[in-house]
Symmetry: C2
Subunit: 277 residues, 2 copies
């Protein structure tokens, strides 16, 4: 049976592009919200969820981390996806005809220099893929959308420009989530993600990091997030290189447990290469 | 002469509401981009800039931190602003007439439960205040906008609903920036913000935090940010309670300087209370 993966957005969203690159043989299931992704995975309706967590559009990072804290799913993989905005027009439209460009405000902002140079009017859309879908509906050759290359294919649009974003280094980190833990091969580099809350003691965060420092474990990410509904309390998300069953990692985990009120392994998974390199 | 403060957005943006609460006697100057705020302050065209840095809409956090790294301005204050979305309609419109609601996608998402309950159609706008301004232009009693209470006043709209966001705890932290350092009173609690890049040595971050731990200095924020254009290199933003001239802070600063390739004091300023408490 074909495996399934849920993503947030409509067909052609950057999250679907990530699914296509990371999981090309899967069926991609669009979801309205991040919460829906978690629900679908929890209920066994899909095998995996594709969750953007870093350097992406509109607040998704915080939503995703908060949902990881609330639900009991595991991180089983990671994927770095370049965000490459294309300028899309209806079939046969020419660049010099364009007068108005539609997209999510964040995408419009990321292509600010390009749009200003062309002197076009900007119009907001609910999401990038929606802007592309609406373009097909209206069939107006003076209108364009900023969206993924995948949208050109799905909505029968022409690509009038590629990589029109101001910064060439726009990348989103995605996490792959599932009901069961991954079993990453011990022969390949792997990463472990933790969620913890420090005890109310002086220098608590420093003490939490001590075990990793003294055991030579490399941290790749440390993120603090306010705990929803509890002011001035913070969760920490920490990624380190290694497997919690390694001896040095076990020592570090034992040490961090002394200084935390809660400590949860969100997952251990094979490390992905960042395409930007 | 009246003092001036620049904010990003059009009149009625949540950033202007922050200016009004923190700097009620100032003239508020709208800017198109965050970059423009920095430019206006640098060129001496305004006295201050009001910059959102945390827990706010659409990627502003990263933009703001990157601009703080690139420019030579100082943080001279902080302000916590509750984000309270109002449902606005044209004068005389009634709630039961509304069919469509306009706003920035992030605001629409934050009021998801409310909009779904009402069964309204959602329409994206470039920003919240723009949605309100357009409402006045169109004068259609079946349309509403999600925006600040200030927009009702500026665009002669009626408030049909208050605090319609799903989460009651939506707060944005703003930083006040200026050309010259602040001189916070030593009698009041103050905060210092640092920007640093760790040396390429094992456990560098842990070592950087050591001086703060052993000198009993409380960290209120630690944020890692990729350095634009340099992959896998991170800047750290750190806020601590205290003044760099205090003896214990001087010891911590001396210690962190051993383990960093660059270290910059972004500012020292009076600590603000978080209104959410």
């Amino acid at each position: 049976m074909q495996k399934t993966i849920a993503f947030q957005g409509i067909r052609g969203a950057y999250s679907e592009q990530a699914c296509r690159e990371k999981m090309p043989d899967c069926l991609h299931v669009p979801c309205k919200t991040f919460e829906d992704i978690f629900q679908q995975v929890e209920d066994g309706l899909v095998d995996w969820g594709m969750l953007p967590v870093e350097n992406s559009v509109a607040g998704v990072v915080s939503d995703s981390y908060d949902l990881l804290a609330r639900h009991n799913l595991f991180i089983v993989g990671e994927h770095y996806q370049r965000v490459r905005h294309c300028l899309l027009g209806i079939r046969g439209a020419r660049l010099e005809q364009i007068r108005t460009v539609y997209s999510h405000p964040q995408a419009l902002a990321q292509c600010h220099a390009f749009i200003r140079q062309q002197g076009w009017e900007r119009q907001a859309a609910y999401d990038t893929a929606g802007a592309a879908a609406d373009l097909l509906q209206r069939g107006n050759p003076t209108e364009a959308a900023l969206a993924s290359a995948l949208c050109a294919e799905l909505y029968q649009l022409d690509i009038l420009g590629q990589d029109v974003q101001d910064s060439p280094l726009n990348t989103t980190r995605f996490l792959l989530i599932a009901r069961d833990k991954a079993q990453p091969s011990p022969d390949l580099p792997c990463k472990t993600s933790l969620l913890f809350e420090v005890r109310n003691i002086p220098a608590a965060l420093y003490k939490c990091l001590g075990g990793f420092a003294t055991n030579g474990i490399n941290l790749t990410r440390l993120e603090s997030r306010p705990i929803p509904g509890r002011h001035w309390s913070y969760h920490f998300y920490l990624d380190f290189q290694g497997h919690p069953d390694d001896t040095d990692c076990q020592l570090a985990m034992e040490e961090i447990s002394f200084f935390t009120d809660s400590l949860k392994i969100l997952g251990c998974y094979q490390e992905a290469s960042n395409q930007m390199e």
